[in-house]
Subunit: 280 residues, 3 copies
């Protein structure tokens, strides 16, 4: 599965349309290129529909939101649905403001997403917004997950069940990332143990993963669950490979470079050997 | 003092709200993370008041200004004052346009800042805008300080007196950075000799420092002078540590990474040993 | 020629006004600094005319366009013409949307550019927009050049003739970059063989070159063809020097740093020794 997903990205060189925040946009573009895709960043209201039409997939990230980009997201998302392109949603910081909450409610209503990727607190907050009874009272802490929400080996079954319930409620693959990642559709959950704790000290490691999902979905549009799981595993494996390069003077800024470098250099053999996941 | 300030940042992990320019925003986010804080970048008019309320401090930087971000800055600043959060102002390029000058005048009128950080030319220009008689006719040269304004050992007493006068006029700690940094409240001026000349060849080393001030003020809100001096010293010390890594093929792009890396790796022992400052 | 252009940039430290996209803006600022210039990024409608007036040159890049930045580009461009500053145009992704096409038509009508820099597909698309009969039917593929457009040793004479024709049609130096770069005015075409194929895996290597053109034009305003050719050669040579540093774990993110580093470290001797070009 993994080799097939990876090979398809490199063979098809998908164009990935990103409407994303201005904080991590450069890293998002570089990780798409590193993966074998081609990024286009465009959020002008008057052009997003045309841009998304010529692309293979769309990645919507609400990290730095305003009225103009919100409208651009809705327009692009609807058009991507119309031309049957996969669409990724990254609900950065949902719960931190009314604007973010209302935008997510609107997007979920007007756009059908292939994948929703967020940390556990963000996914739980969406459950609340949708009025789902999933016993998930969650407290947003800005753009990071709350400690009390963390997925561990002890609560992994509950987390997998929650992700599947969210997949049923949204019609999307749910990619709930953290120390353990859970990627699920309604029937099947990949529980992924790759990655390194220090990835959370890099700004936008989650945004980068969402952009990478754009590459993997764009090149593997008919198998969204496998494509999403593969992208999450690639990010985790590259987080590990990048961390192996760290010297005792390296910190988060160099680590960011090393991870993106690793995405470009990744071989299918490395990926298969280092992948650690189980299906529940 | 330094160890205490550093330790508080890492212990309290302050959320820092940044309304900053899109040029250096990624480095600002990474340096906040490196310091032990958590950054949130948000400039949507409809959400900045909510965002700043859940944070520990606010950093306002006018590097790339427009009418929408100007309004967001005013709203966020007033709200931060209301909930008693420290607010940092970075008046990037004040003097270079009417828009920047008018925005600074408005911000200084409507928001009480804990710290104003700029190069000497920017601080002098603010003195002019405020109509202060401090013998400071200054010429803006874009976003850089003029050569004729530079603080040296010879004019350090005058610079310290000027910074104290500006602190009295604004009610803010003044962090006037350059080859020698002066950080002053009305009574006391830290004169700081750390740093490296090549830091000025990195875009946004000043913006990064302002974001770092957000971390230090957020975690040490009751001691703004010490917090600000500590942040300035941390930046200078890390500029030195980062420079020690430079090989003869490294330039400003790698140097940027090395400084942020050093902020993450910094020990209190390194900080205390390398700090070079005096109080006037 | 090359040494003279390089030396002038470092001696004159030109201020370069950039109205550019938020994807690659940080790298653009750092490469201007690395070259010996000083960048100012400003796109507020109310300040661009003042900002461009205090600068030495203007670089307009339509990578992430909206109605506000479009208006800022037109205003800044006209003002730069009025005060006789060189203006660079980077028509990123022209052909990918009506907004981009209309903006380029408007800009070419209202602003006289010193240099237009794009990949071959972008330059051909502009020929189409201008109604030029240059046998150039081209298909935009997002922000990248189409394979069928590529300049090779076999079609280099045609490419040089096309660039000269475009220079006649626009009154601008044409910098058409790719595996082989062609930089031409109406009479003379530099065909440049420097660079490395992997540069295309870095986001914004073209944007960075356009910012570098801002430095070289700003410091060498009376010799736009030589200034533009020198900037293109510097970028290519630094792409080679940067690539020599690559280890087998380095990828596009580190490569980006190495190229900018090389621009800062470049000696005139390196530049003269490594430059590979011919005039047609």
């Amino acid at each position: 599965m993994l080799t097939e997903m990876l090979t398809n990205v490199r063979a098809h060189n998908p164009l990935v349309h990103n409407i994303t925040n201005y904080v991590t946009v450069n890293d998002c573009a570089n990780i798409v290129l590193a993966s074998g895709g081609s990024p286009i960043m465009a959020d002008g209201i008057d052009e997003v529909e045309e841009i998304t039409t010529i692309c293979a997939s769309l990645n919507i990230n609400i990290g730095t939101l305003n009225d103009a980009t919100r409208e651009a997201m809705v327009r692009a998302g609807k058009q991507a649905n119309k031309v049957n392109h996969p669409v990724v949603l990254d609900p950065v910081g949902v719960g931190a403001s009314t604007l973010r909450n209302e935008t997510i409610v609107q997007l979920l209503k007007e756009v059908q997403f292939s994948v929703i990727r967020g940390n556990i607190s963000e996914i739980k907050f969406i459950a609340d917004l949708l009025g789902l009874d999933v016993n998930t009272a969650s407290q947003s802490r800005g753009v990071d997950a709350s400690d009390e929400d963390k997925v561990t080996k002890d609560n992994l079954n509950e987390a997998a069940a929650f992700a599947k319930a969210m997949a049923r409620a949204t019609g999307s693959v749910i990619a709930m990332t953290g120390a353990i990642d859970v990627v699920a559709d309604t029937e099947k959950a990949y529980c992924i143990f790759n990655g390194h704790a220090e990835m959370s000290t890099i700004t936008g490691s989650g945004c980068q993963l969402s952009a990478l999902l754009g590459s993997y979905l764009g090149a593997n549009p008919t198998t969204p669950l496998d494509a999403a799981a593969a992208a999450v595993i690639v990010m985790g494996v590259c987080g590990e490979i990048g961390h192996e390069r760290m010297t005792d003077v390296d910190g988060n800024s160099s680590y960011r470079n090393y991870i993106i470098d690793a995405v470009q250099r990744l071989t299918s053999q490395q990926l298969e050997n280092k992948a650690r996941y189980e299906v529940r």
